[in-house]
């Protein structure tokens, strides 16, 4: 890891929030620290803290100004930052999600493989072999940013935006994968398809993922994938194992 290790920055984010930023550029180290710190703050149950959310490199601690003050919450956060708990406990849950990678379901896989200097078969093998983590959730409800793929997957976003990607599309840029859930154009490339719904607003557990979850993709044939699409008893054939 290159040296991007400096003291976390504490900044206001709204009259009822404090942002703890671990880095100004994305690194696996900064992301791991953000994910760990989010759990740490949530578990600490600080009086007046209402909500703890993490992004790629930061954590926002929301508080109720009628029950506490910025100063008190800042002190509590600073104390937690000083505790030696940088060790990542590892994922709490492990997902296995089937995905189809034939050209019909992965229109830009060949293009990405070429940019990464590998064959499409190697690209699929890389995806299957890499356990990625939910490094952030956002842009659309429940939509995970998954990382990181090997270095040769450091493929930039395309300049043209793709419209109308199907829900569950597996898309990639800059060593990350997204299971697409938004209704918006994107510059990420479409390299696979899942039948997985990250967001189920009508259910009691509306969001599939938590930040930090581990995810593995499993390549399936088009025939098997279509059967999975038809089967409404499961969420896209996904299996979730609770590790701790």
């Amino acid at each position: 890891m290159t040296a991007d290790v400096h003291a976390p920055e504490l900044r206001p984010l709204g009259v009822d929030g404090i942002l703890v930023r671990f880095a100004r550029v994305l690194s696996e180290d900064a992301n791991a620290r953000a994910l760990s710190f989010r759990s740490l703050v949530a578990d600490a149950a600080i009086t007046g803290v209402t909500e703890v959310a993490s992004s790629l490199v930061s954590v926002r601690v929301g508080f109720d100004p009628e029950r506490t003050t910025r100063e008190i919450v800042t002190k509590a956060i600073s104390a937690l930052l000083d505790t030696p708990t940088a060790t990542d406990l590892g994922p709490r849950r492990q997902w296995r999600i089937p995905a189809a990678f034939s050209p019909a379901f992965a229109p830009q896989l060949q293009e990405v493989a070429t940019l990464a200097g590998i064959t499409p078969a190697q690209a699929i093998a890389d995806i299957e072999a890499t356990t990625v983590r939910v490094i952030a959730i956002g842009f659309a409800p429940g939509q995970p940013y998954l990382g990181m793929l090997p270095d040769h997957w450091n493929v930039p976003r395309q300049s043209e935006l793709t419209e109308g990607l199907p829900r569950g599309a597996l898309i990639t840029a800059v060593r990350q994968l997204i299971i697409w859930a938004a209704d918006a154009p994107t510059g990420w490339r479409h390299i696979g398809q899942t039948a997985f719904r990250v967001y189920l607003p009508e259910t009691s557990q509306p969001f599939a993922f938590e930040p930090g979850d581990a995810v593995q993709f499993q390549a399936v044939s088009d025939t098997d994938f279509r059967a999975i699409q038809q089967n409404t008893d499961t969420n896209g054939g996904a299996i979730c194992e609770v590790l701790r």
Partner: protein, 339 residues
């Protein structure tokens, strides 16, 4: 239970309440009314639960009737309205008799008008809220022909109330606070931003509004691509082309554009209610000063409730005096129709 029928609807009608706080970590912004103050005004006038859902009308209203008589208010953007041809004033409680037609026209001042019935909308909640969140796929725009359930009016006999007109529809000076990326902009750029008069662009929706301006350059120093980070409503994003956008209730939870500052919640209704072309200027507050402006919805409701005044009507001003139940004077007059 009373039932509401929508006979005609403008294109921006949605059910809104105070939103769904607590899901930022999962990528869902709080959403809810673009102008929550208007929801609180309605609740204060009617004396009902501020968490009840109402109909938000962006720009244009619609025509409505109910199966039972029910009290209602029109707050937020000033929209001319009538009940079967009789004017229904803004910021007042009214009684809509069963079957009468409430007609609400376009906004004369402001952008978001709110039609609140005393019993609230009783559609099925999703994640503890009835607010439509279009970008999250929760709920849908209301349309002509829709029928919706209303709750019973808990205070049918309450005396009519009014609120003084609000001055939040004309833009002007908006207070902003520093955020995590304010120092990505050099001091000169921050000063220029404070000196500029912007106009609310024609481009805007529940996610945010764009600002137009002439001259000036508000791009960040270094021109680096910043890592996407958490955002909150009120944040002023500056795109790579230097165009400012102010985020509103239905914004995303993570954004990649740098933010020069954040409109304090107390002034955000002025942004939501600024019609296209409205001038807007920005004044940076210190963090300490910004924090003193934080006020819970409960505290805001208490303050608004104190401003409510009973409506005392002179019989000379009532054109249709005989339509009123004059014997007891205190009933809405539809008692026999009720089960």
């Amino acid at each position: 239970m009373p039932k509401l029928t929508i006979h005609s609807a403008g294109p921006g009608l949605t059910i809104q309440d105070l939103g769904r706080p607590g899901w930022k970590a999962q990528g869902l912004s709080t959403g809810g009314a673009a102008d929550p103050l208007a929801l609180l005004e309605g609740a204060a006038l009617l004396g009902t639960n501020p968490a009840d859902a109402a109909i938000e009308m962006m720009g244009l209203g619609g025509t409505f009737s109910t199966s039972e008589g029910v009290r209602f208010t029109l707050t937020g953007a000033v929209m001319q309205a009538d009940i079967d041809g009789e004017n229904a004033a803004h910021n007042c409680t009214h009684f809509l008799p069963a079957g009468a037609e409430l007609s609400i026209r376009g906004a004369q001042k402001g952008v978001y008008g709110y039609l609140r019935f005393a019993g609230g909308m009783t559609t099925d909640p999703i994640m503890d809220s009835r607010a439509t969140h279009l970008t999250a796929g929760i709920g849908a725009r209301l349309q002509a022909g829709d029928t919706l359930p209303l709750g019973p009016d808990p205070k049918r006999m309450a005396a009519p109330q009014k609120l003084p007109p609000s001055d939040r529809f004309k833009g002007g000076m908006i207070r902003i606070m520093p955020g995590p990326q304010t120092d990505f902009f050099d001091q000169q750029t921050q000063t220029a931003f404070s000196a500029m008069t912007f106009l609310r662009s024609a481009k805007g929706n529940r996610q945010g509004i764009r600002l137009d301006y002439e001259g000036g350059d508000f791009s960040t120093t270094g021109g680096l691509t910043h890592v996407s980070d958490l955002i909150v409503p009120g944040d002023i994003q500056i795109t790579g082309a230097g165009v400012p956008y102010i985020l509103l209730a239905e914004c995303q939870t993570i954004g990649g554009y740098p933010r020069i500052g954040s409109v304090i919640p107390a002034d955000l209704p002025k942004i939501a209610q600024a019609a296209p072309g409205t001038p807007l200027r920005f004044q940076f507050l210190s963090l300490a000063d910004a924090d003193t402006t934080a006020q819970s919805y409960d505290a805001q409701l208490r303050a608004i409730t104190k401003m409510c005044q009973p409506i005392i009507r002179d019989p000379h001003d009532i054109a249709d005096l005989l339509r009123y139940q004059l014997i007891s004077g205190a009933t809405p007059g539809d008692d026999l129709e009720r089960p």
